[in-house]
Symmetry: C2
Subunit: 397 residues, 2 copies
Amino acid sequence: MSEIKIDYPNFGFEVTHRDEKSNARIGVITTPHGTIETPNYIFCGTKASVKNLSPYQMKEAQTDIILANTYHLMIQPGADIIEKMGGLHKFMNWDKPMLTDSGGFQVFSMGHGTCADEIKGRSTGTKKESLLKITEDGAEFRSYADGRKLMLNPETSMKLQRQLGADLIMQMDECTAYQVTRDYTAKSMEMSMRWGDRSLLAFDKDHDGTQGLYGIIQGGIYHDLRKISAEYVAERPFFGTAVGGCLGGSDEEMYGILESIQAINHPNRPIHFLGIGRIKDVFQSVRHGIDTFDCVMPTRIARHGMALMKGVPNERINLVNSRYKDDPTPLDEAMELPCSTEYSKAYIHHLLKAKEMLGYQIVSQHNVAVINQLMREVRAAIRAGTLDALEKEWLVD
Amino acid sequence: MSEIKIDYPNFGFEVTHRDEKSNARIGVITTPHGTIETPNYIFCGTKASVKNLSPYQMKEAQTDIILANTYHLMIQPGADIIEKMGGLHKFMNWDKPMLTDSGGFQVFSMGHGTCADEIKGRSTGTKKESLLKITEDGAEFRSYADGRKLMLNPETSMKLQRQLGADLIMQMDECTAYQVTRDYTAKSMEMSMRWGDRSLLAFDKDHDGTQGLYGIIQGGIYHDLRKISAEYVAERPFFGTAVGGCLGGSDEEMYGILESIQAINHPNRPIHFLGIGRIKDVFQSVRHGIDTFDCVMPTRIARHGMALMKGVPNERINLVNSRYKDDPTPLDEAMELPCSTEYSKAYIHHLLKAKEMLGYQIVSQHNVAVINQLMREVRAAIRAGTLDALEKEWLVD
C-alpha cells in the first residue's frame, strides 16, 4: 500500500500554536467549503438535519462544521437521490464544511444501544438484530426502513460517501464492542487495516480533490493494539487521523489510550475523536492533541430538557425541574443568542412540560451555541496558556 | 343588562372600504399592542406556542395576530404563573395583538374529537370523558394533566383571561355539538346569553382598558335561534362579535347562517368566525362580512406533510407523496420566505419520511406565510373589486 500516493490539493492542516503545558494545539483545517479553526466541534446532522434546527439556526449559533451519517442516508433517502440533488451540501442547504462517517459504526452498533453506550462500553444487553454477518468482504445488514439486505464494505462506503460529497470522509472500519475479547479485537483491527487499504484504493480511483479521507485507529482498550493501528494510519496517505471504537469504561482508560498513541500519530494531520464530546471530554482531549470532536450530546440532551451551562454541576441544568416553573430569568444571559436571552426559564419549562416542539428547538439551539462558545474559549485559552483556569470556570462539582 | 355601559378606550374598529358586489369589507382593528388590517387570520398558539414555530419565525412569515387557548393554559402552566411572569405577551415573547378564547369550547368538545370535527358536525363517536357536568353555574371537568376537578364559568373565564392578558377576549358560552336537538340548542343558547351577561358584569368589574370583549352568537343550525342570539350580542356592550358553535355539515348550511345574521350584527364591530379557516372558507366568509378567522389547519396539516399552495387542487400538496422524492424544485418560488424558496421538495420529502422535526418546522412556517399572503391578496382584491378573480387564482379543481 505504501506505493499509493494521494494528494489533497484543496485541503490543508496547519498548526498555528502549541500549548506549553500539554499537547493542546490551535490549527486550521482547509476544505473546499472553507476553513475551520481547531479545536472544534462537529455537530451531528444524522439524517441530513441537525435535530430540530435549520441551517440558518445552526449558523446563528455560530456553527462551523456539521456531519451526516452515511448509514442513515443510504437507507433513506439513498445516496443516489442526494447525488442527483447535487450532493449533501446543496440538499440540506449547508455551504460550510461537512463530514460523513463510513456507515460502519451504525451497522455494527445497531442493536448495541446508543452511540454513547457503545463507545463508553455500557452494554445494553440487546442483540445485533439488523446485522446479518461480518466477513472479510464487509458487513451485510437489513434496512430498518424496508427490511431489504444491504452490503457495506470499503468500496461501497467510498462510493456512498463520494455520492454524498462531504468534505471530510472516513475509511471503512469495524467498530468493535466493549465486551469482545482481546483476540477478537486484534483480528478485527487487522481487518480494519486491510479495509483501510481497500478504502484508499477505492478513494484514489475517483479522487478529484473535493474530499479528504481519514484513517481510523482501532484496537479497543489494548494499548499495544492501538499503537499498531496508529502506526498503520500514520504510514498511509490519509488526510486525517481518527480515533474510533471502544476506549474503555472510564476516563482514565480513555485518555490512557490517547496518551499511548500520541507520539505515533502523524504530526501534520488533524486528529478527530469519533463520538466523544461532553464538555469535560473536550478539556481532557484537547490536552491530548485532539483537534475535532463529534457527538449527538448537545441536541440529544436538549430533547430531554437539559440545557448546557458554563460553571454548573454536571455541565447542564434540567429545565423540566419544577424549580423553574416560575423562574422569570432568561435561560442564559451570558450568551449572545436570542433564544438564550429572550425566553424565561419558566416559559421553556412550560414548553417542555407541554411537549411543545418549540421547547426542543430553543434548548437545542442554545446547546449548540454553548458548545461553539466553549470551543472559541478553549482556543483562546490555549493561545493564552490559560486552559486550566478556563476548565475551572466551566466545570464545577 | 342594557344598563351596563362599557367603553373600550384603547380599542377601535374602522371600516375603510366596502366591496360593491358583496358584504366584504376592509377594516382596521386597534388594540393596545398595535393595529391589524382585516380581513385577517388569527393563528393558533394553543399552549402559548404556535406548534413548531418561534415568535421570530411567525414574524418572518408576516403574521399580525395569534391566539392562545385559555383551557390548555389554565391546566398547564396555570394562569397564575403566566400572570406572575408578566402576562401572555411577555411569557411567550409576542408583542403584537393576541386573542384568547373563553376556555369553554375545549371543555365542551373534549371527547368529541377535534375542533374541526366538532364545528363541521362530524361525530367521532367518542364520549365526553373529561366533562363532568354542565349546570347554570358553568362547566365542571377534570384536568387531563393531573385529574383534579376544575370549574369554568363566566366569572372564572373572565378572571383567567384577565390574568393571561390577551388584547381580544371571549365571553363564556356553551358550544353545542352537531347531534344535539333543537330543544337542547335553544336552551343552551339562552344559557349562553345569560353567561354573556355574567361575562360582561365580571369583565366590567376589573376593566382597565387593556382588553376588548367579544360576545358569541350561538344557535346551532337553526336560523331563528341564530337571529335571537345575534340580536342579543348586538344589543350588549361587547367590543366585537364572534360566530361560534356548529354551523352545519355543508358549506351551504354554514353560509346560510352567516347570511341570516348579516343584517342583525352590530355594524361597527369586528366579526370573528371561530375555528373556521380553509382557504375556500376565507373567500366565502369575507363575502359575508367576516373580518377575522382562526383555525389550527395551517400548522396541523403541516405536521402531516401538507403544504398550502395557491392554485392547486384541494389548496395543498402532500409532500410525503413519493412523486417528490427527487424533485429539485423549491417548495414555492413565488413566496418571499427562505423556507419556501431555499429547500427542495426532495429535501422536505426526505425530512418528513425520516420524521425529522425540521420538516414540520419548514412546512409549518410556509403554511403560515401562505395564509398571510392570501389575506394580503384578499384585502387588495376587496379594495380593487377583484375578489372573484382572485378566488379563481387560488382555488382550482
